[in-house]
Amino acid sequence: MTANSSEKILIVEDEQHLADGLRFNLEAEGYQVRAVDTGEAALDLLLPASGNGAPEAAKHAFDIIVLDVMLPGKNGFEVISELRQARHFVPTIILTARGRPEDVLEGFAAGADDYLPKPFELAILIARIRGLLRRKEWLRASAPPPEPKDSFVFGDKSIHFDLLELRVREQVYPLTVMEASVLRYLVEHEGKTVSRKTMLKDVWGLHGDTDTRAIDNFIVRLRRYLEDDATRPRHLLTVRGIGYRFIAFPPE
């Protein structure tokens, strides 16, 4: 019917009749549909074991999720907030019999993109699915073109974020994705003090009382790469009791 075929939809719904009806209609619209009947099954599909295997592939396995709330085991709200905590941002519509205002608020607070109470109108559901997919397309279309030079040069050193490399004179150090992210964050805040807490929040996406010492290990490693004398750092300074400061051009 429509041109946007091959977009994949995951239906999480334990009522067999509804799941079958939705699948029939969405397939007629030209989408690829997969239906599961528990939140646990959905999470298994979306977040493969411990997230280290091939998370990137899994993240793009589905373009949109239609999620019921009253599921056996984990309910829909728990499923969506677990996804969001794992930094999985697939567009999600909650489709549920619970339509009280506090339910709707809870759904959005948990991280849903849209909320549709049952009974719903088929045409409206399809329009909302299209809307979310279109928003994704628009975001992609309006995204700024990637920066031609994704690197930062200071003195005789340079960081190449795209290549995950740190070059110090002739020496090339490969960086992990996380190390590159930490460096990028420090470079973006050059000259300013950044606290361990805000780094955890902005780089790792972690909140609250997570142990901040993990950062110190990163800094120790980065110092080994880019300081001439790691015991007397000139670029990556410790600000006691707070965090760190990156200085690109330290005074002689």
């Binding site: 509804l18 009806g21 209609n25 019999a97 049952k118 719903f120 109108e121 088929l122």
Partner: protein
Amino acid sequence: MVVGGRRKSIAFFIALGAGLISVILLLYVGWVLLNWHTGILVFFGILLLALVIGGVVLNTTFLVREIRRNAQHDAFINAVTHELKTPVASIRLYLETLKTRAVDDSKRREFYDIMLDDSDRLLGTIEQVLRTGRIGDTRRELHVSSIDFGAVVEECLARARRLYPVSANALAYRHGPPITLTCDAEEVRAAVSNLIDNAVKYSGSQVQVDVETASVDGKYAYVRVKDNGPGIPPAELKQIFKRFYRVPGPLATRVKGTGLGLFIVRSVAKRHGGRAWAESEGPGHGSTFVLQLPISR
């Protein structure tokens, strides 16, 4: 989250009650030790103290009970909302599908069957809720008549066979001696149907339900409904007959229900001067439900 909040408030009120009582005791014991000689005052003091403590305990108990009842009522509203809206959503979805899309003949027939199923489910929920209201009304009298108990049970089994896609052997009936029962036929039919429905619903994919009727020394007639389902923990055997009560845990979320079925069974039994109870050797061993009614009134 909501449940956690409730548990916290229950704990808070119990702690408050216990704290108040211990403060009073402490004050009083202190006072008695300081003024040991005034005998008659000590006597009245102990009396008043006992009253105050009794009041605090009573107050706390009622508060906790009220909070629990509130929680159950919320769960009931959620369950009924779900049970009412889901079939409507499904029927509506299929009607819209039939209206807007070209559906071939076999698919169309399949859709009709699904919609019929859903309307049965909807009707079942509505009847259950209405029946609870009627049974709760104590002024309402029983419409007593003489019925063939075995025939009523067979009727209920026939209905269940129509409703659920199970093999004929899965719902077995062992005939007892013919029993003529004086009772409200409609209520007894509803109670027996509820027991059979539960047995099928909680059995999952392996349905094997055995139903038998018999009488106890000519005074009582009973029907036993035995299933091979998940069984019931001993602590829950009585609880499950309470209104809105659902066994906590994954089972209750997998098997949808309003928490009214067994309440209706127990109410019908009580209204007839009979009894209803559950037997189970614990999780994994199936369960047996018995409805026992007096033969003559």
